[in-house]
């Protein structure tokens, strides 16, 4: 539907030639990886203007992923709130159930273009792992997914999906045994294998060019949504809201609205149980600039610089860093970063189930919670575009348990 297939010009917003967004970003990786990230950055710089590549990408998104995804006017939810009109960008309707597939299709096409025969990925809840395994199967590449041992235990269904898709799932038994440890393990694999392996990072994070590349592949969300909301309402929305873990669904949505100065942008982080150390994942809200996973960005760490434990009801927001471009947008004041806690996300989850017949993933339930609060104080002819970045199939057991619908977490359900 959008006519231009190559990524929008980003000279105003970054990155610069060194992969910096203002003070943030860069490439803080061991010398053993510098040749690989430099080659990737050079390749990507050339591909960014390579029309046939982006035509193939868009074709894959349309024919295989099922794009464009609808922009849906949630009128019963809007009536229930009694304020602004909420429009849901339905990334939950994509193949594999989330926005993650946009990025993995792009990076897998890129891997194939670079002549790599193997892709690796990290995954937390398993959504990015499933999306990578899917794209690898679709394009005939070998696939290994690193996943924290704790997440392997909690997300058996997604482990099985990846295995059915032909991927090897490696349980990472180090550190907190969760997402950040899976990233460490994947980077180490890549250091030894980059001659034939491409590392498919799942969010707008890591060393340059990953934040730019992943944002570009996800920008299709924002380009579609911007055009759709204008078609449906005749004008731009007042506000745009998305959840932020690493920040890829938000970056993809926000990027298309950055130059629309009147459109307010909100990134919603996970406040977890409460904003106390170890109990949340609200990196931009309470963290500070530091270095993690190859980038200079906001991080949650102690006074020595050791990464802090994080918590959220949603595994996809449970990350102690954030994409460097978000850190830049925060410092510029272009995007407001707020947080919603586990309880608010669960309430929004239930409300959306009951008013619209949509079971969202717990990650975008945080965005729904915040959009509902904002909508209440707005006029009925105002509008908010909200990214429903994934569907909640993966979360129904956990949500059911937390909502008291399932008395005990039985092993049969857990599996």
């Amino acid at each position: 539907m959008t006519s231009e297939v190559t990524p929008p010009d980003d000279t105003r917003w970054g990155p610069d030639a060194r992969g910096r967004y203002g003070n943030f970003g860069g490439q803080y990786v061991p010398e053993t990886l510098m040749a690989s990230v430099t080659r990737l950055a050079d390749t990507y710089r050339a591909i960014r203007n390579d029309r046939p590549f982006w035509e193939e990408f868009r074709e894959s998104l349309n024919r295989y992923v099922g794009r464009p995804s609808p922009l849906y006017h949630a009128n019963r939810l809007s009536d229930r709130i009694g304020g602004a009109q909420l429009y849901l960008k339905r990334e939950d309707l994509n193949h594999t159930g989330a926005h993650k597939i946009n990025n993995t299709m792009g990076q897998t096409l890129l891997a194939r273009r670079m002549g790599k025969r193997r892709v690796i990925a990290e995954t937390g809840a398993g959504q990015h792992g499933v999306a990578t395994a899917t794209a690898a199967a679709r394009f005939g590449l070998d696939c290994v997914v690193y996943m924290g041992a704790e997440d392997v235990r909690r997300q058996k269904l997604n482990v099985l999906r990846m295995e059915l898709l032909g991927a090897e799932v490696v349980a990472v038994d180090a550190g907190q045994k969760t997402l950040k440890d899976a990233i460490n393990a994947a980077m180490r694999d890549w250091m030894a294998t980059s001659d034939h392996t491409h590392y498919v990072i799942g969010s707008v994070m890591g060393p340059h060019p990953y934040p730019q590349m992943v944002r570009d592949f996800q920008t299709v969300i924002g380009l579609e949504a911007r055009q759709q909301v204008i078609e449906q309402t005749g004008r731009l929305p007042n506000e745009v809201v998305a959840c932020v873990g690493g920040g890829s669904n938000a970056a993809g949505l926000f990027f298309a609205f950055l130059d629309d100065a009147d459109v307010k942008l909100f990134g919603v982080e996970a406040a977890g149980e409460k904003l106390a150390p170890g109990r949340h994942a609200a990196t931009l809200s309470v963290g500070r600039p530091g270095i993690l996973h190859g980038m200079h960005t906001y991080v949650l760490q102690d006074e020595d610089g050791q990464t802090s434990p994080v918590h959220s009801v949603s595994a996809g927001l449970d990350y102690p860093g954030v994409g460097p471009e978000h850190a830049h947008w925060k410092e510029l004041g272009r995007v407001s970063y707020v947080s919603e806690d586990d309880q608010a996300a669960l309430e929004a989850f239930t409300t959306l189930n009951e008013t619209e017949g949509i079971i969202p993933a717990l990650e975008p339930a945080h965005a729904v919670a915040h959009a509902m609060k904002r909508a209440k104080a707005m006029h009925a002819d105002d509008s908010i575009v909200l990214n429903l970045s994934g569907r909640g199939d993966k979360d129904v057991v956990e949500a059911g348990r937390l909502l008291g619908r399932i008395a005990t977490m039985g092993d049969s359900l857990d599996a």
Binding site: Q27, P30, A35, A174, G175, N184, G290, I291, L292, G305
Partner: protein
């Protein structure tokens, strides 16, 4: 720059390669007493320099053996101050050099100048920042210079000739040549073109070139010391410590067991100059 300890303990590059040993230890693994004891023993054995790894929760530059040691130390409540205190305790009584290997995450948090000053005041002679590429190194190098710390650059087999030159010229103390692509860990064979790479680096930097990553036996040490100025052994030593702990060794018994391995490695290297 005044005459530095690393200039007196490492070989001069005008001579034929006749390498020394640089063992790596994780600070505080399994406890401060064992690290301290091992440094003293290694010093008595004539090693040229100890590389002391400062534990970090999310190191991407290290392999699983060293990373696990980091996690174990951090779980015991080890703080950055404990590493500095350990260095300060042993400094006056050992002759070998002491280089800190540390993730930039920790240095950035403490502040570049403050970190380098504290490292220098604790008795470190040099610093290795494996996740600061040369393009980003001007501020860290400046802070190290000001604190009179050698700034030890790393070169990988995949490093281009142009970068190799920049890294070599920006280094002080010695240059760290990684023998294999990848993270720290133990490999079985040394790469064939290593001698040529070392020679190029020696010529470019005018500094001793020490080879690390993947060296795990006395024979490896002997091979490397025949072509380079020093052999760095990390994971193989840390693995010995972890194995000892698993078998119930602690304190003096653990120090004895691991220093016997360091003595074995020393059989492939010559003692430091003074």
């Amino acid at each position: 720059m005044p005459t530095h300890r690393l200039e007196t303990t490492l070989p001069r590059t005008t001579a034929e390669p006749n390498g020394v040993l640089l063992p790596y230890l994780t600070a505080g693994f399994p406890d401060a007493g064992v690290t301290e004891g091992l440094i003293r023993k290694a010093d008595e054995l004539g090693v040229a320099c100890i590389e002391l790894g400062i534990p970090f929760s999310d190191s991407i530059a290290d392999g699983p053996v060293i990373q696990n040691s980091f996690h174990s130390v951090l779980e015991s409540g080890w703080r950055l101050d404990d590493t500095f205190a350990l260095a300060a305790r042993i400094r006056s009584s050992v002759q070998c050099g002491l280089a800190a290997m540390v993730s930039f995450s920790l240095v950035h948090r403490v502040g570049l100048e403050r970190f380098m000053d504290r490292a220098s005041a604790s008795g470190f002679d040099g610093i290795i920042l494996p996740d600061v590429p040369v393009e980003e190194s001007s501020a860290t190098k400046q802070a190290a210079d000001r604190a009179d710390l050698c700034y030890i650059g790393l070169v990988a087999p995949t490093t281009s000739a142009e970068r190799r030159e920049t890294i070599a010229r920006g280094s002080t103390g010695f240059v760290y040549q990684m023998a294999v692509a990848g993270t720290t860990g133990e490999r079985t064979d040394l790469p064939r073109n290593l001698a040529a790479e070392v020679n190029v680096l020696r010529a470019l930097s005018g500094l001793p070139v020490c080879v690390g990553f993947g060296i795990s036996t006395a024979q490896h040490v002997r091979d490397v010391c025949g072509i380079a100025d020093g052999a760095i052994v990390g994971s193989a030593i840390v693995r010995r410590i972890a194995d000892g702990v698993r078998h119930g060794l602690a304190g003096e018994a653990l120090i004895e067991s691991v220093s016997a391995f360091i003595a074995e490695l020393m059989s492939g290297a010559r003692p430091r100059l003074r």
